[in-house]
């Protein structure tokens, strides 16, 4: 690799690692997300130009911050507005207080404030996800657009509109106080989890998993956990993502076909992710009623620790779903609980619960509800009804790998000799 190429690689690594922290510091100082973004990008561009010539500085992050600050003052001077003049006065006063911009002082971590601004309830759910990926994960607008399968211009407009709202409505740049935090944190966790689930089960299109997006979600989860180490739900969310993502390699076969949990090669599960996830679950569960992420992580941990589907602690999973149903009831939780009951107490017991859920309109349109019913009917030897349920699931499924799996399952139930049960 050439010297220039190596320096560019360093810039890339520093950029990925430091972008969120750099941006958060600049926003705290400038109170202007657009200006912070412009000068951070400027500093990166300068680094790309200068580092191959001058060498990589000893404190790359501090160098970037100093450069970005100088650019900010230049830009504010050019603006010539009353507000800009006030900002310069403020900036210079602060600089005098910190011993000048040349000092490579280690800078603090303002990312928690940036999380709460990007995930503010006054922004749309879509905008929160886009802002968090752009400003905390450091993805480019193009990458964010690709992640959500929307045109780049649409994503650019979404970001611009959201930034305008932050600026004009003065959405504050602060961590909510202890009284507000319990009400505000779920929105932040939700954004990270949306990124993760989007990576995991793309609702349409040819691919099922997009590993790089899952990795971004886990990275964001790690940052949040590091910023709020004592928060049990932030811990639970990171655990959940690690424990689900640990099965990624076994979830598809070499041809790209989806492999069900029952048929996965468990030796391909990522042991280090499982160990880390389990350690985190152990910290997220105790200390009063666990939250929904900690409970889902505990369920994922029981799956991950079992040697086979049959050896899984299904009764324990059913009790965890009972707790989950109490803290965060939803039709999908009820569906998963019914499936677990089907494993713990037999397919007939599971089927009774699933049939009780049939009236729920959301589940009636959900392909996995019909697939779960088909599986239980198949185990009971009711092949015609199982085939009908697979057909209904096929009519509702959106992505290709799941469609292919359901097609194979339907073919198997139709072709099986009479009386065959699984």
């Amino acid at each position: 690799m050439s010297e220039r190429g190596r320096a560019a690689g360093t810039v890339e690594a520093v950029f990925r690692e430091e972008w969120g922290r750099l941006l958060a510091t600049l926003v705290g100082w400038l109170h202007d997300l657009d200006l912070a973004e412009e000068v951070a990008a400027d500093a990166i561009a300068t680094a790309v130009e200068r580092w191959p010539v001058d060498g990589v500085p000893d404190h790359p992050a501090a160098w970037l911050l100093t450069t970005a600050r100088r650019r900010a003052v230049d830009r504010l001077r050019r603006r010539q507005t009353y507000a800009a003049k006030l900002a310069i006065l403020k900036v210079e006063a602060e600089r005098a207080g910190t011993g000048g911009p040349a000092a490579p002082e280690p800078f603090g971590d303002d990312r928690l404030r940036l999380f709460f601004t990007c995930c503010h309830p006054a922004l749309t759910a879509e905008a929160r996800v886009a802002l968090t990926l752009r400003y905390l994960a450091g993805l480019s607008t193009t990458e964010v657009a690709r992640a959500f399968l929307v045109p780049e211009t649409t994503m650019a407009q979404r970001l611009t509109r959201a930034k305008r709202k932050i600026r004009e409505a003065r959405i504050p740049y602060r961590v909510p106080g202890p009284a507000e935090l319990p009400a505000r944190l779920p929105a932040v966790l939700r954004v990270i989890y949306v990124v993760f689930t989007e990576a995991y089960a793309a609702s349409r299109g040819p691919t099922l998993t997009r590993p790089e997006l899952a990795e971004e979600a886990i990275r964001l989860g790690r940052i949040l956990h590091q910023l709020l180490p004592d928060d049990r739900e932030a811990t639970g969310l990171l655990a959940l993502m690690l424990l689900v993502d640990a099965r990624r390699a076994a979830r598809t076969d070499p041809a790209g076909n989806l492999v069900l949990l029952a048929d996965q090669d468990r030796s391909r599960w990522d042991r280090s992710s499982i160990q880390e996830g389990v350690r985190l679950v152990e910290r997220a569960l105790p200390g009063g009623r666990p939250g929904p992420y900690a409970l889902q992580a505990a369920i994922a941990a029981l799956h991950d620790e079992a040697d086979s589907l049959a050896a899984t602690d299904w009764p324990q999973i059913v009790s965890l779903y009972d707790l989950l149903q109490a803290v965060a009831p939803s039709p999908v939780v009820a569906l998963n609980r019914a499936v677990a009951v089907g494993m713990a107490s037999g397919p007939a017991a599971g089927l009774v619960l699933l049939d009780e859920l049939a009236a729920d309109p959301a589940l009636a349109r959900y392909h996995l509800y019909h697939a779960a019913r088909a599986g239980l009917l198949e185990r009971l030897g009711q092949r015609d009804q199982a085939a009908a349920a697979y057909r209904r699931a096929l009519a509702l499924v959106g992505n290709e790998p799941e469609r292919a799996l359901l097609t194979r399952q339907l073919a198997a139930v139709v072709a099986a000799p009479p009386g065959r049960t699984r």
Binding site: T81, Y82, A122, E168, A169, R170, P172, R174
Partner: protein, 119 residues
């Protein structure tokens, strides 16, 4: 920064009973004195029902006057407060405390600020 807290609610088809009316009025009086005493209050008015509203438009030179509000919506503007607070979170806190949030909805809008011309 100044925010307008716009109070929207459905206009009742029939007047509420005197007991209900008294209880609701007591809530409004309590909120009104709290916000006026908080140091954030700039102004505020309650409006007469929309049956008293008149809409005016100019089509070229012609003045067109019609009875009622411009838009026919379920929830109508019933009043407002203007407050001066540091940020949106503080404005949202006041909006949530207002009885209007319970009996209808509150729209919180920042007031536009114009830079003075350069000297």
């Amino acid at each position: 920064m100044r925010y307008l807290l716009l109070i929207y609610s459905e206009e009742p088809a029939s007047p509420p009973s005197p007991e209900v009316m008294d209880a609701v009025m007591a809530e409004w009086v309590a909120f009104d004195s709290a916000i006026r005493g908080s140091g954030t209050y700039v102004s505020g008015e309650a409006l007469q029902p929309t049956q008293t509203a008149t809409t005016v438009r100019l089509k070229g030179e012609e003045r067109i006057v019609t009875d009622g509000p411009f838009a026919e919506t379920r929830e109508v503007l019933g009043g407002y407060y203007t407050i001066d607070v540091p940020d949106l979170d503080t404005a949202l806190d006041w909006a949530a405390k207002c009885p209007g949030a319970k009996y209808g909805s509150m729209e919180v809008r920042p007031v536009m600020v114009f830079d003075p011309p350069p000297q």
